[in-house]
Symmetry: C2
Subunit: 193 residues, 2 copies
């Protein structure tokens, strides 16, 4: 394993595991089975990447390319990401098994300062056909896009070069004070970013 590969895998496991926790709670709050199913798929993906990482870490220790301690750290971090992913799947499971959360409990999960919102780009939105980097969303609204659903395709942790399209469903995260602003921009009700 080149060091670069290990880096890429570890970062990916960390990001996907954290995203899964967000999506899992979001599936409960928005009563959305589609997001819950997405969590299931991501969990399988995390399992596969983790298996690969563990195998490579041990092979490379054998080859003398990794110190024993480094390999142990990598293995532990991989396992921890998988534990987080498993927990997210259990949260999504509450949604998929149609166990209904009391509406008041749902609201309480939205009361955190850090929130995840879901919004759709309207035909007249000022965000339409703009690069994420160009609109400086994070600085202007305190929210940033963690995933985009475009038709059947998902774009996770989109780069600054991704162009937002009409009907894109945005999953954005941040401090709740930016929530209304971002939704108004996406829905075309506010023109000033």
């Amino acid at each position: 394993m080149s060091e670069e590969e290990a880096e890429k895998m570890l970062l990916e496991l960390k990001e996907k595991a954290e995203l899964m926790v967000d999506l899992a709670y979001s599936s409960l709050i928005h009563d959305n089975k589609e997001i819950a199913e997405e969590v299931y798929e991501l969990e399988e993906y995390v399992d596969r990447v983790n298996d690969e990482l563990q195998k490579l870490a041990i092979e490379d220790t054998k080859k003398g390319e990794l110190e024993v301690n480094e390999a142990l750290a990598i293995i532990q971090l991989g396992i921890s990401s998988e534990m987080i992913a498993d927990a997210a799947r259990e949260i999504a499971d509450v949604q998929l098994r149609e166990i209904k959360l009391h509406p008041v409990l749902k609201e309480s999960l939205m009361e955190s300062n850090e929130i995840l919102l879901k919004t759709k780009i309207a035909p007249n939105s000022v965000l339409k056909d703009k690069k994420i980097g160009e609109i400086r969303l994070a600085s202007e609204t305190g929210m940033w896009i963690i995933a985009i659903k475009r038709g059947n395709k998902w774009i996770y942790d989109p780069s600054k070069n991704v162009v937002l399209k009409e009907n894109d469903i945005l999953f954005a995260k941040g401090d709740k004070e930016g929530k209304d602003h971002l939704i108004a921009l996406a829905e075309g009700k506010e023109r000033k970013i």
Copy 2:
């Protein structure tokens, strides 16, 4: 259990578990044992709250105050939060057992668009003696404060009314484009929020 109590506990478990993941990775990235130990303490706290929540959920189902399905959902969410907290403790464990991560791996963990930063309020910082609500940090920098270390005390998910003090250590989260701005404000190198 009043519904209000269950709400408060579930929200608390979710927030603490997510904060623990952030702090655990942060302890690795910043080579900081103190943060890692904080994760250990939070894990014990999450265990206690979860035990209490589970017990109350079952007692209240017996009393007829909760539906069986509602109790199951609450119990599952509590267990999932505890799983996430356990995973965070395992990540912190990598730091506490002094298993050294390769510096390149550490850097890769910082490459995500979503980052956690640690900075200290300097005597001449424009943030000093200001309310968090007053400086509109989230809107202006895209970063918000998830925890403050003040002497030996920690303030988690601080409200808008918390006044920032000299020497406060801020843990802030957000899109990485806001990082340099917030650090410059805290260090007194930039006056314009």
